[in-house]
Amino acid sequence: MTAISHRISNYCFRGVSPTPLVAFRLIFGALMLFGILRFMLKGWVNELYIEPDFHFTYLGFSWVQPLVGSWMYLPFILMVIASLGIILGMRYRLSAILFFVCFTYVELLDKANYLNHYYFVSLVSFIMCWLPAHVDFSVDARLHPTIRRETIPAWTVLIIQLQLGIVYFFAGIAKLNSDWLFHAQPLKTWLQAYRDLPLVGNLFATSWLAFAFSWFGCIYDLTIPFFLSFRKTRSIAYFFVIVFHIVTWLLFPIGVFPWVMIFSTLIFFPASFHTLWIQWLKKICRWKEITLFQTRKSIGKKIVLWGFGIYLTIQVVVPLRYTLYPGNLFWTEEGFRFSWRVMLMHKEGYATFYVVDRTTNNSIQIENATYLTPVQIDQMATQPDMILQFAHHLENVFNDTLISNGEQSVHLKNPAIQAEVFVSLNGRPHQLYIRRTIDLTNETYTLKHRTWLEQFKESNDF
């Protein structure tokens, strides 16, 4: 036992060249700078965080609220500054922490905007806070040559590789389900929409292409971390990384994510590879090398190993937490998020809410668009936790209000909130999701299994 832990420790703390990590710092900083600027230029700060009256917060994070009005641009401006700091290696730690805090703050505001790749960015920027990515070719190292290192402990590179490996591998595991493998859904639905393309249109309309894509995608996700890890297969694996992500970028509206993955996976390449382009950059920037005679001993090996272990355990356990819930995961979405289930299902829902006067049983049918944006409506209609949150919001809006209609007026007190929801999963005919007889004001938002959701009835009619 001690022998193994000794070997792990040795492996994690052996000195490696800092160049791959420095390269990753530049790549990650540049991608984030691009991503944040793109987000702002598309007007999404206003659309997603300033305009909506209501936000779907995460369980336990309802205290995370948007800043008032245009102040909401502040975290984005800070992120621009922080990504510049990361690229330049200027006040690197502070920049990395600032970026992580701002990014995560924004992501926590509204789960209607949840994307796996945002979660990925949050995690990587968290990791970056702990890494010595500024020990070479950085403003910090220029100003304070004592922080320069010729080697850094191997775990600092390994953790990023493992994080990427986890993303791919769990994305692959998630695809091991019959809809994906034996019905080629949802890809069949998404690909056939390209049936009008010249020349290749007919190909996209066929189901066999969807099957080929599904199987290839699944095998790719499951194996690519390993092929990227071995020297012999690395180049060809990286070729597949490029092809895979460019194809997804062409076919689906997934923004910068393909580029994040294409460039991030370069971390699997050895120092000799990164030295090529970092040297070139150094030349341009007239970077002066200083020969260092000693490497300071890394302290707190135990703390690092424990931190490392805990982080990885969480990363493995969180995507598997769904196994604690009964029922069909795609239907209930209990344990669905934060699990690398990317491009995995096509769910469409129609949710109608009713505010009911308990004394007369008369109701007000809600126009969702009065309270929510189109994106929020779309996301909410298929996700039970969001349906419940919206119901509770309606309860607050309508409780203790006077509903006047000409001469008649009704004082609404503690109204019941009902919802009639239908959902279609992966192209199956719609099924009842939530029954109108359920009063959602009686249900609380917890991590417990939701019994008020209708059971999924398997149907092969798709």
Partner: protein, 356 residues
């Protein structure tokens, strides 16, 4: 390396096997193009319908000029007839709020109801107004004319007030201008529309599917729901009825539903059945869904013909009939929005999205 080669080989083999299994019928299904729907609708439905609306509005304008020249009950009756004909014509095309109609904001300008009669009277008294301003959105379009042509003592008021006559002329001219813009816009937009088979949320095909669902939902909510009290604890709101003074709301509802049905089937105004959403659904092996929606539209467009009197009459005499009708429409939205739109793979979001 070996592994990869093996992989490629097996993918090719699987692909080959799948191609071999394909029969003739399946091939035809794969050959179905969305462009067929778009070009059929553009040439046989949309452009002719806008032309028809343009013609009707011109007739309305002419009849109104005749009335100004010789105000009389007979001439007012002709104006009213032309108003009905143009409003029906508008209801045959309003679903397609895509391209030029969206730019112009045609539905808002022509079809907003109920009318703000106070605002109309204020404008008439003032004699000066900017009908394009947002304040006047409830004082223009067919609904304002419903009030001006069918309101209490309207013949007398129209005959004796030059301001009132000028207001009507301004309203009709505005409508004509807007429809003319849309008609002109479609000359160049047609090509964009037909080529718009992409999958983004702003591609004409996506816009069309969304407009189709949206207009149906709007009819459900505004023409029936709000008046019968679905948003007001069951308390009826007759003031919110469309074309209340002429009592023409039922006919407009029927025209609206018939046109949505025709759009689904890809039927021209003359009745020739071309490519429509139904054919696309059949190509996607969802003929059951196609039949369900078709049947539901049949029921929805024929049921109101059995109602006695206007919708307002029905609200008094048989409110449950309207509630049942409303619920049936509500049930139909699910087939359109959830099943059909998801089968087409149409997106509603324009933001980054990883499919979950």
């Amino acid at each position: 390396m070996k592994m990869t080669r093996y992989l490629i080989a097996s993918v090719c083999l699987i692909s080959f096997l799948f191609t071999q299994c394909k029969d003739k019928e399946e091939e035809q299904k794969d050959d179905f193009k969305k462009e067929a729907i778009l070009s059929n609708l553009a040439d046989n439905y949309i452009v002719p319908s806008y032309d028809d609306l343009q013609t009707h509005l011109n007739s309305l304008s002419n009849s109104w000029n005749d009335f100004i020249a010789t105000p009389s009950q007979t001439n007012l009756d002709v104006v009213r007839m032309e108003w009905k004909a143009s409003n029906l014509s508008f209801h045959r095309i309003k679903t397609i709020e895509v391209g030029p109609a969206m730019t112009v904001g045609l539905n808002g300008a022509l079809g907003t109801f109920p009318a703000d009669t106070l605002q109309i009277e204020t404008n008439v008294t003032a004699g000066t107004y900017n009908l394009a301003s947002l304040d006047n959105i409830d004082a223009i379009g067919f609904e304002s004319l419903d009030f001006l042509f069918f309101g209490t003592d309207c013949l007398n008021k129209l005959t004796n007030s030059a301001n009132r006559k000028a207001y009507v002329t301004a309203v009709i001219t505005k409508m004509q201008n807007e429809v003319n813009q849309v008609v002109a816009g479609w000359v160049s937009y047609r090509a964009t529309f037909i080529a718009g088979t992409g999958t983004s949320s702003t591609s004409p095909f996506s816009l069309l599917v969304n407009a189709f669902c949206k207009d149906f939902e709007l009819a459900k909510t505004a023409k029936i729901g709000i008046p019968i009290g679905t948003q007001s604890l069951g308390i009826q709101q007759p003031l919110y009825l469309e074309a209340r003074r002429s009592g023409f709301g039922k006919e407009l509802l029927i025209a609206n539903m018939e046109s949505i049905h025709r759009l689904f089937l890809g039927k021209s105004n003359s009745g020739a059945n071309g490519s429509g959403f139904d054919d696309y659904l059949i190509a996607l092996e969802k003929s059951d869904l196609s039949a369900t929606i078709d049947n539901r539209f049949n029921t929805i467009e024929t049921q109101p013909t059995t109602w006695s009197g206007t919708i307002e009459n029905m609200m008094a005499s048989s409110p449950t009939t309207l509630t049942d009708y409303y619920n049936y429409m509500q049930g139909t939205v699910v087939y359109m929005k959830t099943d059909m739109a998801s089968a087409f793979g149409v997106l509603i979001t324009y933001q980054d999205n990883d499919g979950d």
